[in-house]
Symmetry: C2
Subunit: 231 residues, 2 copies
């Protein structure tokens, strides 16, 4: 179950994150008081789409997915978020309810900060406002960029693109454990589970990757990258 942690100070954690660099010390103290730090197990649901936005969500550690139900009740994964980013950026300032569900893909630690406090600090601290803007802009831009890329590729290209994404952007390693089931993998790049498996096997036969269950190793990064760009 989700477990509320005896929190470490924001000052220590926040200094590591780009966003909070611009905060004054008393603002950080105020954050300390108003935040909750919660740990989630792999697979645990963090937020449900449609629920009211009360807090600003920061992913301190771990990996989470943003998803949404389609009209025909299928799950659709919008994006996978790396640690040290703010989730829900996309809706927090323009909606009253979360537009996406949030689920932990690995054991993850999240900070929940009262949304009114964040808004207050934004209004009072111009540098902080600029940083939030930069971050929001960057996060949105990445998501859009990835979406456009994925849409315009054929299946082989999509799989390759996603493998390289996990390797380069998330794990910084050619060897990693895929945090998604094959089904989720398909939901993230709009293809059937069967074809996810088929193409992964194809890549294995072609010597591009090695697979052992959810453990994946990229053997030929250059070729895979070519497939990702032109497939």
């Amino acid at each position: 179950m989700a477990e509320v942690l005896d929190t470490s100070r924001c000052a220590e954690c926040a200094f590591k994150s780009l966003l909070f660099e611009k905060l004054e010390f008393d603002e950080l103290l105020e954050l300390d008081g108003a935040k909750k730090e919660v740990k989630f197990e792999k697979g645990e649901k963090i937020l449900k789409e449609g629920s009211e936005i009360k807090e600003f969500v920061y992913l301190k550690k771990g990996l989470v997915k943003l998803s949404k139900k389609t009209p025909n009740k299928k799950d659709h994964i919008i994006s996978v978020s790396k640690p040290k980013t703010f989730i829900g950026f996309l809706t927090v300032f323009s909606h009253d309810t979360y537009q996406y569900s949030l689920t932990a893909l690995e054991e993850s630690t999240l900070c929940f900060i009262d949304i009114h406090l964040i808004k207050k600090i934004i209004q009072e601290n111009g540098l902080f406002a600029m940083d939030v803007l930069a971050k929001i802009s960057q996060v949105s831009d990445e998501i859009i960029h990835r979406r456009v890329n994925i849409c315009s590729k054929q299946l082989r290209g999509r799989i390759a693109y996603l493998l390289i994404f996990f390797s380069k952007d998330i794990y910084h390693n050619t060897k990693f454990e895929l945090p998604l089931t094959r089904k989720e993998f398909g939901e993230l790049i709009d293809m059937s589970t069967e074809n996810v498996i088929r193409i992964l096997s194809e890549f294995r036969r072609d010597g591009l990757i090695k697979i052992d269950g959810s453990k994946i190793e990229i053997l030929n990064f250059e070729s895979l990258d070519k497939v990702s760009r032109f497939g």
Copy 2:
């Protein structure tokens, strides 16, 4: 050719736009001095991807497309922007160069405002900062939402979705002139020109729409909407 206009005051124009409601009068005056208002003809290129960001771009009147070249040199349309929105929101605060090209789809009037001035006002005026955040969040969210929707549908659903988008969100009318060629239509929703035509003809045969060149009229909104949601 693009024509620099004898500009009307920001105060008048801006008061109509949500974003500028929160500005003080002297800030508006400052904007007046720092902005350029330019008119573009249909088809004219406004910005090229890769060029340096010096200005904040506001679409006062008209319609523009955001596009990008794929690695194999094809054009890809990211989004179509309605008037009274800020373009380039997606990159202005996180990059030095524009990530997308901008082209006028109709005769359009755009305002260019020195980016440093905007950043200065954001830092000094908290309410303005909050408004920019809300807008940026909303614009990004819409684009992501549309992209995800389009990706997850089959061709019939995509075409229907886009027709309804133009009818409801852009023209507020069941009758409108499609501002895109069939080819561009395809570039926007990732499908071949031929299939755009084929499916439009199909919709015509089924009595869902009426087509006369680029003039389109939606005859059966409900059915088209069903196709859009479940196709």
